[in-house]
Amino acid sequence: MAISSFCKKSALSTFSCSAPASATGPFLLNMTSTMPNPLALIAELTHRCPLHCVYCSNPMELQSRTNELSTEIWSRVFKEAAEAGVLQADFTGGEPLARPDIVALVRAARSAGLYVNLITSGLPLDEAKLAALVEAGLDHIQLSFQGAREETANEISGTKSHTQKLRVLDWLRRHRVAVTLNFVIHRRNIDQLEEMLALAESSCATRIEFANVQYYGWAFANRENLLPTRVQLDQSLTLIKREQERLQARIRVEYVVPDYYAKYPKPCMGGWGRKLMLITPSGDALPCHAAQVIPGLAFENVKDRSLREIWEHSAAFQKFRGEAWMQEPCKTCDRREQDFGGCRCQALLLVGDAAATDPVCSLSPMRPKVDAILTGINTATSAQIFAQPPWRYRLNPA
């Protein structure tokens, strides 16, 4: 499901092939490594979705069903991905369960040697389908929630969806698969974190991901009604720290902060063309979810070239790889190997130049633009910021 692929945008950038250094004794040798290969393949199987979330990460221009890749092409892509070094496949969308061949796709990815994640709303799921997916080799299911309370969740998703998600949680207890609950966080649900944690604790989840909305696509269009206040954010940080300690060794609690409030940008996608590759429903290979907003980038299609060729040679992947494209202050910054200049799409969206320093960075000359947005929200009255918004709901593809 598309909403939680937003979690991906930053959460997956922590995708690592290493253990915390502190825990490795000399006896255990060195477990850290950096691989020059793509590590994860984000497979956007379809743009069709029963939800209409106001922060959907899908592009505003959605692909129709007739353009979707066939089972055979996806199966070839999974093999090529494994050969190129990819470890994990993230099935997302839209709603990946909208594909009638979803069980065959899970089986194909698993037989290719990949670890298979399914990111879903759980809406088109019944217990027989769940059993078939697990039998086909599904490793990990990420169930998205739009809130802890039914009325908030239904408002944000534009659908009556919450009760079905609770049913899915119940079925999951009876199947051997890893379970993550994904909550996309924003002004209207950031005060419900404790209720969300209680939901996770009462379930079989071993991981909970709170990802603040990142502002691209539909979320960018609804930003003024989604950005949390600084007070809300500070309270959430205190709570998360406390809960991470309390739940240690039971539930991993991950928190992705809204980068508009950050001092430094996120290392978006773990660096452009460094770890991740996204395939759209029609087969275009992108370095990140939102890359299509950048003018002048031409994307290659998996129908025409192998995944490895695209990874190594595609002009779109080369464009912001490494450091040659960087301008000041990134070019000479000590942090350039940590955050890679931040997010190219955000630079484009906020300052009109995809090669600029991500303007959320406190070192960016354009940071005042971001501060002005935050000031607008933090000086408004409570009645103003919690007024019923004129939501712009995500549409469905034609």
């Binding site: 825990a23 006896f27 477990m31 990990h140 698969v177 071993t206």
Partner: protein, 93 residues
């Protein structure tokens, strides 16, 4: 927090070793992969719910007979706790 020596460590749901044919071997888990080699691979291969913590220690002390046995034990316990914190491991009694 020390694992009970007579408990049986077992990889948690959704955590598994990558296939033998794929090098380097890794422990695959939600959103993560730990690269394994030498002792860490020997340990994880035994986290199958059939070996006790004690048996894993004895096995590895044999395999790494040149290492100081107490040190081997401490490293194994530390590594098992790390895996549990990562939510990759459960201890069954």
């Amino acid at each position: 927090m020390t694992p009970e020596l007579h408990s049986f460590p077992r990889l948690a749901p959704g955590c598994r070793l990558s296939e033998k044919a794929r090098e380097p071997r890794t422990l695959l888990m939600p959103e993560r992969a730990l690269r394994l080699n030498g002792p860490s691979l020997e340990i994880v291969e035994r986290c199958d719910g059939k070996h006790t913590v004690q048996q894993i220690i004895v096995d590895l002390q044999k395999i790494y007979s040149k290492a100081e046995p107490h040190k081997v034990e401490q490293d194994i316990l530390g590594y098992l706790i790390l895996l549990q914190k990562e939510r990759a491991l459960d201890f069954q009694l």
